[in-house]
């Protein structure tokens, strides 16, 4: 029997409430927002705050009440699921699924969102489309919360698309400027690529497993009782290959949504949206949905799929960090930082650090939201996004500075701050992965450490350029001012989480004792377990799964302190270098850039990813293909269609002639100039009742003859 914090119906109702409330707010605001006092911001804020109350209640009831790592509740188990589509061969029930992970996720999302709603009241004050902004934000929360509570992959995908729409709407919020509409379109298009692959993965999974409900899927995998749908659709493929393939395709959804290389290009451009949007969608929640999805589907991934995830994650972590080094736009630095951190999470998940990756998702959400809101506060005050216009702001904006600094320390992974506990675990996991497999497998660890060094460097570069030193633009500096309380308070709340989300401030705390590790246990890999049943090769890089797990656990223990020491070294090095280059100015950054000439150029050009996709790259190729297809369409397909049309017209004409001579008596005159078909039919319809009666009698006669 499950342990339940409430009775089943209350739980279900709460799940409904979680996403229906924001939807109702969005609906009201989009329709009547302008008629409400204050543009209805209070309604949207109250809506998300009530969701936060529900989530926090659940959090305390479940986590504090039970403290059981295995806690999970599925509405389907109580018969509370609804058939979305129900045909004999196609059943698609949908219900809710909650476990410790989703409750923690809900709590994080609603708390961050509530902070951002409050912040937006200050940031967006006086905007022409103030109600629309809150309507979109509420809509986004609806989709995001729905994504977390549903119990199957298909509905996850549906909400996945819905958050994509929310992101599109909010990036393009300033539709009358030049950049935002382009950026929103880019985000949407790039995400399409990943989403199509994701859908393909889901289809293969459906063929292979026969269900899309998480628990049922994992049960099928574990028992090895695969549906035999593969028989006709995917004949000739063995199960392991299919599992790996569909796992990788499903992960491709996360590649675009979570801005992993090579589909990350939309994220920096997405910064064209209002800053609270960047904080909510492009730092804390939507981009993390990809990580959440990989976590949800974790047992589904085979070792090979996980290897792929590791590779992509490690690349993203490093590439994102390098691009963060050279940006001058404060939001772009944060965007690349987000991308890099998402890479860390994927890397963590890929190397078997399930807990580490997801823990980083939670802690990162708080301090990255804080950083974005802090940058929003600065932008609000300076009216510029270029860090060269800023400087010395710490005296003008003390609270923004303090909270920003706390979040920076957390992001850098300085001991005692929240980011330290999660990031350190990822690094330790990466090292242990290397220890378990051999030399080549140290690459993710090396990338992670180098990335950690760069993270510290670019974040302190940002802090020094913005808040320390001398004002870059005297005029702007003079007009700078601290933001109002409605913006500062959310910053403080998020900064507190930036320290507290780790659950401890003991720098040498055992990983196993951290709150998240105790509550979210690593699931056994159902994919591997199931493969044992079907007799496929279940070894993980040459070892049996059990031995591998044992080794890994052992190595994890061994790796803890070395990893810790290396990452702290990287951090210290990063801070010192940033200080030397941007605070004391002992080294000229331009000289360094010159030294790394070509490399610097490549990084500044964002590794030419955009060019690769552009007119001379993928898009150009596609356009060529489009033209080719258009030609084919116009000349070949249209030709066939036109021929069919002619043929059909000919048949109709012949039928017409037949009609005419069979029912000759009904026809009084013939209109030659009307099209053959229509004229025939019109002539049948003489309007003369006697003709009608004749017709009918004839019909009866024919029927009677047919039957006799």
């Amino acid at each position: 029997m499950d342990m339940l914090p409430f009775d089943v119906n209350t739980l279900t109702a709460l799940c409904w409430a979680l996403f229906v409330i924001p939807f109702a707010c969005a609906f009201t605001l989009i329709n009547f927002g302008r008629k409400l006092p204050r543009g209805g911001d209070w309604l949207a804020t109250a809506g998300i705050a009530s969701c936060a109350v529900i989530a926090i209640t659940l959090f305390f009831k479940v986590i504090v009440g039970f403290g059981a790592p295995e806690w999970a509740w599925s509405s389907a188990a109580y018969g509370l699921s609804w058939d979305w589509i129900s045909l004999e061969s196609l059943q698609l029930p949908v219900g809710f699924y909650l476990d410790n992970l989703s409750v923690i996720m809900l709590t994080m999302v609603t708390i961050v969102a509530t902070c951002i709603f409050f912040f937006s009241q200050g940031y967006m004050h006086g905007d022409r489309d103030y109600p629309r902004f809150f309507a979109y934000l509420s809509y986004f929360c609806f989709a995001m919360l729905g994504l977390v509570v549903v119990d199957n992959l298909l509905f996850l995908f549906i909400f996945w698309e819905l958050v994509g729409v929310g992101s599109y709407l909010l990036i393009g919020f300033y539709y009358d400027q030049e950049e935002p509409p382009k950026a929103s379109l880019k985000a949407f298009m790039v995400n399409r690529v990943g989403d199509v692959l994701f859908l393909l993965g889901i289809i293969i999974a459906w063929q292979l497993v026969g269900t899309l409900n998480y628990t049922e899927m994992f049960a099928v995998l574990e028992s090895g009782a695969f549906a035999d749908r593969t028989g006709w659709a995917l004949a000739g493929w063995d199960t392991q290959t299919l599992l790996t393939l569909s796992g990788i395709l499903i992960f491709c959804g996360a590649i675009s949504k979570s801005a992993q290389v090579p589909l990350h290009t939309w994220l920096p451009d997405a910064m064209a949206g209002p800053t609270p949007v960047s904080a909510l969608i492009h730092a804390a929640t939507m981009v993390a949905a990809g990580v959440f999805m990989v976590g949800r589907m974790y047992p589904y991934f085979t070792p090979d799929a996980l290897l792929f995830i590791t590779g992509i994650g490690a690349l993203t972590a490093l590439i994102g960090a390098t691009m963060g080094l050279v940006m001058w736009d404060i939001k772009k630095v944060l965007a690349y930082s987000t991308m890099s951190q998402l890479g860390y999470m994927m890397l963590g998940l890929g190397v078997g650090g399930y807990v580490a990756g997801l823990f980083h998702l939670i802690t990162h959400a708080f301090f990255k939201a804080c950083l974005f809101l802090g940058s929003g506060s600065v932008i609000h005050s300076v009216h510029s996004q270029d860090m060269r216009d800023m400087g010395a702001l710490k005296n003008k904006m003390p609270w923004t500075y303090r909270t920003f600094l706390v979040a920076t320390l957390a992001l850098a992974g300085v001991p005692c701050f929240a980011g330290y506990y999660s990031k350190d675990q990822i690094v330790a996991n990466a090292l242990s992965w290397g220890l378990s497999h051999g030399v080549a497998y140290y690459v993710p660890f090396v990338f992670a450490v180098v990335g950690a060094f760069m993270t510290t460097f670019y974040m302190f570069r940002l802090v020094f350029l913005t808040f320390h030193g001398t004002p870059g633009d005297q005029h702007k500096y003079e007009h700078a001012h601290e933001s109002p309380a409605v913006m500062v308070l959310p910053l403080v709340v998020l900064a507190i989480f930036g320290i507290g989300a780790g659950g401890t401030i003991h720098p040498l705390a055992e990983h196993g004792n951290l709150w998240f590790n105790r509550l979210v246990p690593e699931p056994a890999s159902a994919a591997v377990a199931g493969l044992e049943h079907v007799g496929a090769d279940t070894s993980v890089h040459g070892e049996s799964y059990e031995t591998y797990l044992e080794h890994f656990e052992h190595n994890l223990h061994v790796a803890h302190y070395p990893a810790l020491i290396v990452s702290i070294l990287a951090i210290v090095l990063g801070i010192l270098l940033a200080r030397r280059m941007y605070l004391t100015k002992a080294t000229d950054p331009a000289a360094v850039a010159r030294k790394f000439g070509p490399l610097y150029g490549i990084v500044c050009n964002k590794y030419h990813f955009d060019d690769m996709y552009g007119r001379k790259g993928v898009v150009g190729g596609l356009m060529f293909m489009n033209r080719a297809f258009a030609w084919f369409d116009k000349n070949v397909v249209d030709g066939i269609v036109n021929f069919m049309g002619l043929a059909q017209r000919f048949i109709a004409f012949v039928t017409g002639l037949f009609d005419k001579y069979v029912i000759d008596g009904l026809v009084n005159f013939w209109r030659f100039f009307v099209r053959a078909l229509s004229s025939i039919l019109r002539l049948v319809q003489t309007g003369n009742v006697r003709d009608y009666l004749t017709w009918t009698l004839l019909g009866v006669l024919i029927l009677a003859i047919t039957l006799a």
């Binding site: 979305w84 009307v674 019109r682 049948v684 009742v689 009666l693 009918t696 004839l698 019909g699 039957l707």
Partner: protein
């Protein structure tokens, strides 16, 4: 035949209340009237609306199960009673904006509507040829009146007269057929006739002929080719609310009786009729599909569209399985919403001068985006485009039919005709969105009309996305035919 009053009320409760409502309406008209035109009309309309809605709501309290000598109240009958009541309510909604164009008899229109509905409800319960004929005549005779309701318009009179003549012919076929059936089986009751039919290997010629005549009589109601011939003229000439009611209600009368006849009376013996029904279905689809293409008059166009829908219903009838019966019930409901919305839009765009030429909807998207959206939804649903309800209705029909190996050709043909029909529905959309408006006058949409349109549109959309409730209701309704 002993008749017990309380049992009668248990079966014919809806009908009794409708009769009562009709009488109350007449009396109200007399009391409030005193020669004025608008006062009594409003009172009668409001009262009729309230009464119909109340009876509709009350019908959900009823439990199926009562059965007697003259009729039966099984779940099938109950489903169609609700359907007819809903149709009547919707027709009232279509009639409300039309009322101004009537120079006389405004108050009588709702009254007549209530009496026709009474006849239709009676028919859905019929388990006896006597009830069937009485109910059918009640429906038909009142519909004659409603078709010829605007005596100052020659077209309306023409429609009425054509309808009477053709109706008389169909009734004649019917009575002739019933006489033959009675002569060969010795009974009017469906259950006994069914017993006789299924007791023998092959039907005697007389019985076969009788059943054929009855089938023909019902074919007129459904609008199956070659008995569809009255439809374009009558649809065009009759006042638009009457046309709306004809297109949904009268067609459903054909459906309900054919289903009783084919599924219950003929039972397993209907397998011998598959070829005939399938042939009729193919002809009907062909005629409906090709006939609609050259139309330039909106109501005539919808008439042909209705013929092609009758074709789809015949495909389901020919299939003769429980799944196909459920599909028919689903189909008529989706058809109700899409069609009523279309006719209400026609009433609104034709404005005061009763010009129903297709030009009227040119550029509708600029004149009234709301009407354009409603008409688009309705057309796409009628065409069977996902995700609208009409798609799922066609899908259910074809899915049931494809299970029958002998009907695979018919399924293929239906698909072909469905594609053809897409062409002319899209022509309507082209007019709405891509042509410049011919009529630029102000389109007056009353609150009630707006509500009805919105409701129809939402229903078409909702039943396309989430079909389960309606599918279950339809399956429950159809199941009692097979007991």
């Amino acid at each position: 035949m002993n008749i017990d009053t309380s049992q009668l009320f248990a079966i014919f409760g809806v009908e009794s209340l409708l009769g009562l409502l009709g009488l109350v309406l007449i009396v109200t008209d007399l009391l409030v009237g005193k020669g004025r035109l608008t006062g009594p009309a409003t009172a009668v309309r409001t009262l009729a609306f309230g009464g119909l809605v109340a009876i509709f709501a009350w019908s959900f309290v009823l439990e199926p199960g009562a059965e007697g000598a003259l009729g039966t109240l099984d779940s099938f009958a109950l489903f169609f009673k609700r359907f007819f009541l809903a149709t009547a309510v919707a027709t009232l909604g279509v009639a409300a904006p039309y009322e101004d164009r009537l120079s006389a008899g405004r108050a009588e229109f709702p009254t007549l509507l209530v009496f026709t509905t009474l006849g239709m409800c009676l028919l859905s319960s019929a388990n006896d040829f006597v009830t069937l004929f009485v109910g059918l005549e009640l429906v038909t005779v009142v519909l004659f009146l409603m078709a010829a309701y605007r005596p100052q318009l020659p077209r309306s009179i023409e429609a009425g007269i054509k309808f009477v003549v053709i109706g008389a012919l169909s009734a004649a076929f019917m009575v002739y057929g019933i006489a033959f059936v009675y002569g060969t089986t010795g009974s009017f009751e469906f259950s006994q006739i069914s017993a006789v039919i299924n007791a023998q290997e092959s039907l005697p010629a007389g019985l076969k002929f009788g059943l054929l005549m009855v089938l023909v009589g019902l074919g007129f109601k459904l609008g199956a080719v070659p008995f569809h011939i009255w439809i374009p003229d009558v649809y065009q000439g009759a006042p638009t609310p009457t046309t709306a009611f004809l297109s949904v209600g009268s067609k459903a009368v054909g459906v309900v009786l054919l289903m009783r006849l084919v599924y219950t009376v003929m039972g397993p013996a209907a397998a011998q009729w598959t070829t005939v029904l399938a042939g009729l279905a193919a002809l009907t689809l062909l005629m409906g599909g090709l006939g609609a293409i050259p139309q330039t008059e909106l109501k005539r166009f919808l008439g042909y569209s209705g013929i092609s829908h009758a074709g789809f219903l015949l495909v389901a009838l020919a299939t003769h399985s429980e799944a196909s019966a459920g599909a028919i019930l689903f189909y008529v409901v989706t058809y109700l919403f899409a069609n009523m919305a279309a006719f209400l839009v026609i009433v609104i765009v034709s404005r005061t001068d009763d010009d129903n030429h297709m030009d009227r909807i040119n550029g509708l998207a600029n004149r009234s985006p709301f009407l354009a959206l409603v008409l688009t939804t309705s057309m796409l649903s009628l065409a069977g485009v996902p995700p609208f309800a009409g798609f799922f209705a066609k899908f259910m029909v074809l899915r049931a039919a494809v299970a029958e190996p002998a009907l695979v050709w018919l399924v293929a043909f239906s698909l072909l005709m469905a594609v053809t029909s897409l062409y002319y529905y899209l022509c309507i959309l082209k007019r709405i969105y891509m042509r410049d408006a011919v009529d630029t006058g102000f389109l007056e949409i009353s609150g009630g009309a707006r509500l009805l349109l919105l409701l129809c549109m939402l229903a078409v959309f909702a039943f396309g996305i989430y079909q389960q409730p309606l599918v279950q209701a339809a399956e429950a309704g159809a199941s009692s035919l097979f007991r």
